[in-house]
Symmetry: C2
Subunit: 270 residues, 2 copies
């Protein structure tokens, strides 16, 4: 079954101890889509500027990613520039040019509204909520966020994650969102917002999932050579959601998500 991702398409300029690359195709939707596409059909809603090259669209087409939902707006595509030092655990952002992404108002094409699986990448939580209002009874919704939104719109983030079936965020964000120093109580607090499962990404240390009566951890696969960690979290989310979508609604029924509550965002659809 297909998965819809709503997020960013960007050009990233990144320097690591291994070198520097300019204007690489990136953004949360790109990384998510490429990973999820190993498992299932992927639909993308994002925005690019009129400078976005045809080669970018061809890249998605060549992978069979559906980009009908990618809007083209007058202006430049989102740019991000960062440098990683040492173990590359933390990116230091040098420049963020939102450009056309600044006024992104995701519109879900009619043909996408019945998407059974939905991933809300880390955009403004109020826009994530808008997406939920536009889709029709998805089987499973997962949502990510980031420190920026937690700092600026904490209550919106909490409501949005509470309305999702699965919250996918990293350990620092989970602690920041809940004012907890310890991961297990942080995850339980996020579950108390209403989400059934909390997936915590821990970078090279792997990931954990928390649910009712469930705590499961997997270490990261140890790589000999790490070149650029940009997009690793969205890539992980893409693999996670892609595989679940591939398995279809059977896996979801067995794990008990989507038990019928619609909640704040009227997710039952029109």
């Amino acid at each position: 079954m297909s998965v819809l991702v709503v997020g960013s398409i960007a050009f990233d300029t990144v320097e690591t101890p291994h070198g520097r690359r300019e204007e690489m195709l990136g953004g949360s939707a790109t990384h998510f889509a490429c990973a999820a596409r190993y498992f299932t059909q992927v639909r993308v809603v994002a925005v690019v500027g009129t400078d976005f090259p045809s080669g970018g669209i061809e890249f998605f087409n060549s992978r069979g990613v559906d980009v009908e939902g990618v809007q083209v707006r007058e202006g430049k595509t989102f740019r991000w520039e960062a440098v990683y030092h040492g173990d590359m655990a933390q990116a230091r952002t040098l420049a963020t040019h939102l450009n056309v992404f600044k006024d992104f108002a995701p519109t879900i094409p009619d043909s996408y509204r019945d998407s059974p699986f939905v991933f809300l990448a880390n955009i403004d939580p109020d826009l994530q909520a808008d997406v939920l209002r536009q889709v029709k009874k998805p089987i499973l919704v997962a949502a990510d966020t980031m420190n920026h939104w937690i700092a600026d719109k904490r209550e919106s983030v909490r409501k949005l994650l509470g309305a999702a079936d699965v919250a996918i965020l990293n350990d620092a964000e989970a602690k920041m969102l809940t004012d907890e120093h310890n991961l297990a109580p942080a995850a339980e607090k996020i579950r108390s917002y209403g989400t059934k499962y909390v997936v915590v990404k821990k970078g090279e240390h792997g990931a954990m999932v928390f649910g009712e009566g469930l705590r499961f951890a997997l270490p990261g696969f140890p790589l000999d050579d790490v070149r650029d960690p940009t997009g690793a979290g969205d890539t992980f989310a893409g693999g996670f959601m892609g595989r679940i979508a591939q398995l279809g609604d059977g896996i979801v029924q067995r794990t008990g998500v989507r038990s019928g509550g619609d909640g704040e965002f009227d997710r039952g659809g029109d």
Copy 2:
């Protein structure tokens, strides 16, 4: 089969977000012994001052830990004072009073020299080497170290770990010792010193073991309530070595350690 630990016995004064405790019985040998004792017989070589209370010895006796090898020297017992903030991932040392530990020269009692399993806790690597010269053909030797010794005696640390069958150290130490930013190549470099297995402790993130054709990782068990992480690494090492010693030399033969090379420290004994 019994395990010998050579390390410190100390009194720790520790403050965490949960409170402050003064003069708690601590030190690497103490934490190691208490954990290993769940699995097997434990022999301790360490030093305490004439101020060490009879209650301390009774503590070990009550757990059935053999403290015949604990020397009593004129002076005060090792004291350490530290504070942990936030997620308690890092201790900030406020005071270190080595006291009698400053001139600790471990002497292995005759009755301990045939100990089949040996753990060298993080003391001066030259003293760790002295211990290796005093024991007779142990089945398996594991050694820990710490940042202090890596900074001051890097070559001695490398030789000592190379002479052990298992190096047990934390991720920051592994990277520091090898000048590597990435854990997998750091561990492989430590193996190149001569040690067969490298166990990397990653705090709350669990542990990994690297060997010939072997990379195995386990996440940490997620705790809801962490009060004081002091001694966690030595406790882990105690459980690790205690369980191996309990299983005896069969497990060691199957995993191929102690294949017969004696090396630098004439570990074949006298």
